[in-house]
Amino acid sequence: MKKQKLNNLITLGGTSVLCVVMAVLYSVGALDGNHMLKGMLVLIGIHIIWALSLNLTVGILGELSLGHAGFMCVGAIFGGTVSQIIRANAAECPPGIRLLITLVVSGIMAAVFGLLIGIPVMRLRGDYLAIVTLGFGEIMKSIANNIYLTLDANGLHFGFTKPPENVDEATAKQILKGSIGMQTPQDTNIWWVAAILIITLFVMMTFINSRSGRACMAVRDNYIAAQSVGINVTKYRLMAFTISAGIAGIGGALYAHSVPMITFGKFDYNFSILILVFVVLGGLGSMRGSVIATIILYALPEMLRKVNENIVNARMLIYAVILILLMLWKNAPFFINLREKIKARFKKSDTARSGGAEA
């Protein structure tokens, strides 16, 4: 118990310090010489938020969700729409307030979608649940790619698969442009990402170490036994799924406001899998693992790009090989034995030393 608490404090403290240091360095311009790192920081932060939120579904609840990008997409759409409406109607609104409203709306909307999807989906388990979430992710992406929304003096005009007609051309402003995407105000900065990341990590950890989080893990470990001790299985599965979706949505909105132009085609199946890879390699249920794995695996392809011009073409190949090696390192019997041997050797030298001290 004490050890677990200490571990959590280390994770939360370490991540917070890292976030603040990076944000300060970024703000004072210490990173100006390093364009790659500067460009990557905000994106790494957002990816960590996504990985943490997915870890709640996959690691804590134990259900494989392949449609996480769907919730990010929901967050991005609602967030982008809200911020653009605010920009058009209340230009004097400071960016900070605008982003705050945006994040709240997108988080709530993504959570509502999570709840609505969760009600039917949480009756399923295992592979079936994975397939349904996969479908949801693809449906969200396709719908987002076909929504047109135009704002004019008379209000909002909505069109599906084609731009809305009968708009007042003089004052018309396109908010959502189907597969072209949307142009959001770039309100996200490193401080917002750092703050949301730390809050997310805090929420995850306190949730896991509360009555509700334990109930979720009980459902993961043994469904029937969880029911037999009086845990309302559906309620806690739905709760974890909804929280996970809401945080993914907030991440989506942050992302939508960090890039000048966003197309919803990005939130596809491959993107869900990318985040899942971060979570799985970081360790299911391990928040610290998710943070570290995301930093390494996100930075890796970019670093490889910089090493050598020749490597640029082969960098995804190298990335894949490293992924495979990491998986083998974690799971192959040969490497597990090797790790045990190394551990045993360290222990032996430890005991020998302490034995010597006693003598």
Binding site: M1, Q4, V203, R211, R214, A218, N222, A225, S228, V229
Partner: protein
Amino acid sequence: MTDIAKNENDIMLEVRELSIQFGGLRAVDELNMKVKKHALYGLIGPNGAGKTTVFNMLTGVYKPTTGAIFLDGANITGKSPVEINKSGIARTFQNIRLFKGMSVLDNVKIGMHNQVKYTAIEGILRFPRYFKEEKMMNAKAEELLAVFGLENEKDTLSQNLPYGKQRKLEIARALATNPKLLLLDEPAAGMNPNETAELMNTIRFVREEFNMTILLIEHDMKLVSGICEELTVLNFGQELCQGETSAVLNDPKVITAYLGE
């Protein structure tokens, strides 16, 4: 009339004409059973007799086709497992079902899930009520673990416990739900004679310490004859014999059912 009323007051579990049908198979057929308060009651029978099916109906995993179940006078027929646990039945499983990835202490704390009331928001934002109730839970869980001699292993992952201790932890978790009636499904399965003897003491101790009514399924006749006061014998889903332990075990019908003609 007064006789019946008196009877109903000291009966913890009453099963009336309980039957369940799976397709063409009548797994349990018109079972009647009365378990007195504070009793140690055994449910025995050859393999496939329907003992675990009875347990699954008592705990709401299966809905009985016909018949009724009364716990302490209240009708609990057809309720969900969660509701039945809340009304006071806790159980262990034939094949141990612990929460493997969690510590021993957390396993017991999950058993107390419904005894604390703080909400998810209060837990996430760490309201004072969270600290108060968690402290209460920790103290109570450690007390329970001490009863079962598991206090030194409270931080161990439950899957790393030796087999006998896993069985004990499962009983501790069941007791943590604060039940009136404890159902034990083959508690001695896979245990050696020493462990079984220890288990018998534990079960007796649990009954006295927690003033518990215990209904158990068991194949180990030494355990059954050693601690059970009354028995019901099932064979092919039907009640074969019922009564005091020594009388039942010497009944020629029971011996035939177990050993053949």
